[in-house]
Symmetry: C2
Subunit: 336 residues, 2 copies
């Protein structure tokens, strides 16, 4: 890197002039900050219950095929709100930046956050920046907290899962985790792997316009779909049976998983969702989902049965069945 | 440290079993998490406008005289909400932990967050944990975002500042910054320095019960009272004149500042506030503040005049005056 590349300095986190200039020149143009110092004040909140969530993003590398840490920090938190059936409205954003971080990388990340938050229609209303010394961080970490509103009549929670319910998966799995893994390992795959990171709010909006009989919904990020399904089984007390062949894994992802010895069921996704829904509306809901870009590969992949309790069973193409557990140990650190 | 001290491992951030156990055994007992996975849902929010804020805390060392990073992460965000005149109600909390962090330190920090949030009456309703590899973080970083409600009739903003207004400071300055600095430098002072980190919500509650004529309010953290006063002068367009001798600096803080070559006006505070208020209610308001523990040293320290615009003037005991600017450069990194 040339000597002329401006870098983040410790004084950018001091509270003084340098920080005011950093906020004025970089953060304020990208966000909808109500004030550079105070709390943001929200005057008119739509009716409904409030959904609140938070996530920190520490992904390495912070630029990856298909996205960057800023896109992820907006989508990840928007998706968490969407999984509760909430319309995402406001985000806060806290940055922890390592001294020496290139300001043009910060600019790219902020541009990315601005573009996606405008597309979603969510406002970033409060922010904070801290700078840590070289060697005490790793480039950039971003926390986002999100606030959304849940319309009356929507109640999405694993406690609503009932035997007979159908399990819907919105798209192919493993794309995010394997694209980050491939970039990190330096191995290139053909066709190129690409993260699925994207907002799920409009897909959820289409789904909720079709039916309120969505019992549970979650986006399978860290731990992959296996972990999410096991959480649903544990929290509902029932058994989830999944047809393994109904789950789509793109050839490039399958190839990369085989080469690196990973199971795509445990690989992180950032643009897919699993919904557990009333059996009577499952098929028509999948058809509706398929009319959207995000849900065009949606499919029913399984169903809920009484027993064995708190169990996830994967039925294979040749008629076998295996019990699926949560991820144990660490498959791939800093995937999000 | 003995071999038997349990440490945070990368798998504690994996999304799988280890993370579920960490949340169940450490975070869930300390917080009011509505669910271990989903968004928190708030059913009944009091009437009023919503105040929203966020801050990341990267203080080094994370245990310091008078507090720890957990206490700071709760108080700092509660105080930001309080400065907007909001009653703090809910917090989210995102942890970025370095691999190898002692679990008993995490426990102490969570206990501290639990104790202070109960005392304040604020609920920590959503959380997130990420683990980064050794050498890619620095022990523990915590982000908190806060939600509060502003009662109708309260409007606190620097744009309300008017010539004639009085400037109130709630207590002595420099305690937080100098206690952290002393601990970091390894120098011991007599009497011992102690951070002023504490919640300001009940002091603000007392103030707002007395009067709605509080025009602006801010807690002078990074950059100290000089930076906060300069922000008020810039944002209002007026001049703030302060009597330097009205500002209390404890002898130990003054001594430490002299030894280390620092100006207490620029040193961070975590339990003090500056309020700019209508002149007619200033004196009675200070008397009310003095009835509280947090405000017992409250005093009028200056006033707002028309000109010179956007200027802060400090009048010294011997009759001189100096222009005070914001902190430039970095006085003390990672103070909060």
């Amino acid at each position: 890197m040339g000597n002329n590349t401006p870098l983040v300095q410790l004084s950018h986190g001091s509270g003084g002039y340098m920080m005011h200039r950093l906020i004025r020149d970089y953060f304020a143009p990208a966000f909808d900050l109500k004030s550079l110092n105070d709390s943001a004040v929200i005057d008119n909140l739509p009716n409904g219950r409030l959904a609140v969530t938070t996530d920190s993003y520490v992904i390495s590398p912070y630029f990856f095929p298909g996205g960057d840490i800023g896109l992820l920090a907006v989508c990840g938190t928007v998706n968490d709100l969407s999984m509760a059936g909430a319309k995402p409205l406001y985000l806060t954003s806290g940055f922890i930046i390592e001294e020496g971080f290139p300001l043009d990388h910060l600019k790219r990340i902020l541009d990315s956050m601005q573009a996606i938050s405008r597309e979603i229609g969510v406002k970033i209303i409060a922010g904070d920046t801290k700078v840590v010394e070289r060697g005490k961080g790793d480039g950039i970490f971003i926390n986002t907290a999100g606030i959304g509103v849940i319309e009356n009549g929507i109640d999405i929670s694993p406690r609503n899962i009932r035997p007979g319910d159908k399990v819907i998966l919105s798209g192919s799995i493993g794309n995010h985790g394997m694209s980050v893994m491939a970039q990190r390992s330096g191995i290139s795959f053909e066709p190129q792997l690409c993260s699925d990171v994207r907002p799920l709010n409009s897909l959820v909006d289409v789904m909720l316009r079709e039916t309120k009989k969505i019992h549970a919904m979650r986006d399978p990020t860290r731990g992959g779909i296996a972990t999410t399904l096991k959480e649903f089984a544990n929290e509902s007390g029932y058994c989830i049976i999944v047809e393994e062949e109904a789950i789509e894994v793109l050839p490039a992802v399958r190839g990369a998983c085989e080469l690196l010895g990973l199971d795509p069921l445990y690989v992180a996704n950032e643009g897919a969702l699993i919904a557990i829904v009333d059996k009577d509306i499952a098929e028509i809901l999948v058809e509706k989902m398929k009319t959207t870009k995000t849900g065009e590969r949606a499919a029913i992949i399984g169903e809920v049965v009484e027993t064995p309790q708190q169990t996830v069973l994967f039925k294979t193409a040749i008629g076998g069945a295996r019990i699926i557990d949560m991820l144990s140990g660490e498959q791939l650190p800093r995937i999000c």
